[in-house]
């Protein structure tokens, strides 16, 4: 079909008549990044749900590496190489940091292949690498439930990366973080560019700016405009969507 890794064609999602997504289309090249911003209720999370197979569109289709994944179950979508990070940290609280990553890094996910106590050398290397990447090596034996909030987010990013996905969907990866933590998160993501492609959603403009990637603005389920962060900031339509509030104010609101 095309060279794009992910292609979204005219996807519409409707909840009891309310169009959460309305003819959304965009595509993403391998190894690239796209950020999506928009106010609460704009449909950002629904977009991710739709890509991953959690929500079924009423029309339109989603192509991944040229094949149609619109109606596959979640785990099947994931097995093809798309992985998603949740807004609230989606870690496994009763496992240790290390075990969390192992679960994500495992190649064979059928239950009967899990009937062993040890993991392969390749998986082991992978785990070590991820631990370094997310800088949680010292806390590897700690239960994930006891990590600080920021560390939980990084752990989840680590898990997503460990799953060897080619496309990562990050849903507000910096939500609820301190300023320093945000910076750290942004750096973490930037280090990963090239290794895999990203779709990042957030409403924190500053954070999105740090990522330095093309931006789409989503509003009322539609893509309002696309471009660099500066282009988007100066777009009058975007400004009016935010009800006259400046985007900086919106960003502050999000941080509060």
């Amino acid at each position: 079909m095309s060279d794009s890794l992910l292609q979204i064609d005219n996807v519409t999602v409707s909840f009891q008549g309310f169009k959460a997504l309305d003819s959304v289309s965009f595509s993403l090249a391998p190894g690239s990044m796209r950020t999506i911003i928009g106010p609460n209720g704009a449909g950002k999370s629904t977009l991710m749900d739709t890509i991953i197979g959690r929500v079924r569109p009423v029309s339109g289709r989603i192509l991944y590496k040229g094949s149609d994944i619109t109606r596959l179950p979640e785990y099947e979508v994931v097995r093809r190489g798309i992985c998603r990070k949740f807004q609230t940290p989606g870690i496994l609280p009763t496992l240790t940091v290390e075990e969390n990553i192992i679960v994500a890094a495992k190649r064979h996910r059928a239950w009967f292949k899990a009937l062993r106590t040890h993991i392969t050398a390749a998986e082991c290397d992978r785990v070590e690498e991820i631990l370094d990447l997310i800088v949680l090596r010292e806390k590897r034996r700690m239960l994930a439930a006891h990590l600080a909030h920021g560390a939980k987010q990084w752990l989840e990013i680590g898990m997503v990366v460990a799953s060897d996905a080619e496309l990562l969907l990050l849903d507000e990866p910096a939500a609820g973080m301190t300023h320093q933590e945000r910076e750290k998160t942004a750096n973490l993501i930037k280090r990963l560019i090239g290794r895999c492609a990203f779709v990042v959603i957030d409403h924190d403009m500053d954070f999105v700016e740090q990522l330095n990637a093309p931006v789409s603005v989503l509003h009322m389920g539609r893509i309002l405009c696309e471009g660099t962060i500066d282009e988007v900031r100066s777009n009058s339509q975007v400004k009016s969507v935010y009800l006259g509030r400046s985007l900086e104010a919106e960003a502050d609101y999000a941080q509060a």
């Binding site: 909840f15 009891q16 959460a20 999370s45 629904t46 749900d49 959690r54 929500v55 949740f86 807004q87 609230t88 989606g90 849903d171």
Partner: protein, 303 residues
């Protein structure tokens, strides 16, 4: 009695059973829908209602006494439910499986308590005069058909209770709060709604309805310490079939189960029809795992 009358009679019986199941399941559905709580002691709330009615009839004359019995059952069981919610259910919020086990323990204690107080043998609530007798068809295609007044009364009662609850939910301020909490608990909390009080109110209302139901059931069955056990599993099935605490779904599910059972019993015995009912429910879940009434919702975040 004509074949047609037999079938009509069974259709009536199906609706009658459905009305009983609806009454039993309504309270369950309310608390399940709102709090995700399955109350295994719900059957014992029926029992309390039955015994309260029985006690009222000991002090008041028959006829009018039964009406007071119903009121006492409604109010008394409602208060009991409120106490149960405040002392136990509330502590287990967010742990539905634990609530299930704890309320089962409560039901055992309540059964034994009733045994200690009222004795193991059931007590008898005699239907007042105006609820005895039946409508009999003595000629025509429906010859031989006989519709007991007491069953018609229970059908009407369940319709009235259902209507009342729908009215409360859709048309009153309290109902608005309930809807708000039901749709998004966190948001409702953020808006300053005291969700605890809403939970309490709904649980008490559900309990009160159970008490009223116990009062009605006393007209057709004995009041015993274990009376609740006879209905509870079927009521759960109704709730599951109905969908996540949806009132309309509960109504449809009660009708479905009632008419299915009555239909089966034309051809088979009661035991076989119970087994068929369960197979039917499992088969149904294959097609609609979330129950009859589901509303495709925007899946929220979190795992």
């Amino acid at each position: 009695m004509t074949e047609f009358a037999l079938l009509t009679g069974q259709a009536f019986n199906g609706i009658s059973l459905a009305s009983i199941l609806l009454l039993v399941a309504l309270g369950l559905a309310l608390s399940f829908g709102l709090m995700g709580v399955i109350n295994m002691a719900h059957g014992e709330l029926l029992m309390i209602g039955g015994y309260l009615t029985y006690m009222m009839l000991q002090v008041l004359p028959h006829g009018i006494g039964y009406l007071f019995g119903m009121v006492a059952a409604f109010a008394g069981t409602g208060i009991f439910g409120a106490i149960l919610e405040m002392t136990l259910i509330r502590r287990l919020y967010g742990r539905p499986l634990d609530t299930l086990l704890a309320t089962w323990g409560v039901s055992l204690i309540m059964q034994q308590g009733a045994r200690s107080i009222f004795g193991p043998i059931g007590d008898e609530v005699t239907a007042p005069k105006w609820l005895t007798g039946s409508l009999n068809v003595s000629s025509g295609a429906l010859m031989g058909l006989s519709l007991p007044v007491v069953r018609m009364f229970i059908i009407l009662l369940s319709a009235a209770v259902f209507g009342l609850i729908v009215f409360i939910i859709l048309r009153t301020r309290v109902g608005l709060l309930v809807q708000a909490v039901h749709q998004d608990r966190d948001m409702a909390e953020a808006l300053g709604i005291n969700t605890r009080r809403v939970d309490l109110a709904v649980f008490a209302l559900g309990s009160a309805v159970a008490g009223l139901t116990g009062s009605a059931l006393a007209l057709i069955a004995p009041v015993t310490p274990t009376v609740g056990q006879n209905y509870i599993v079927y009521a759960f099935l109704v709730v599951i079939l109905g969908g996540l605490g949806s009132l309309l779904g509960t109504l449809f599910a009660a009708l479905l189960v009632g008419i299915f059972s009555a239909g089966c019993q034309i051809f088979t015995g009661v035991s076989t029809s119970d087994v068929l009912l369960l197979l039917f429910v499992i088969a149904f879940i294959q097609f609609r795992p979330r129950g009859i009434i589901t509303i495709s919702s925007r899946s929220l975040e979190g795992s």
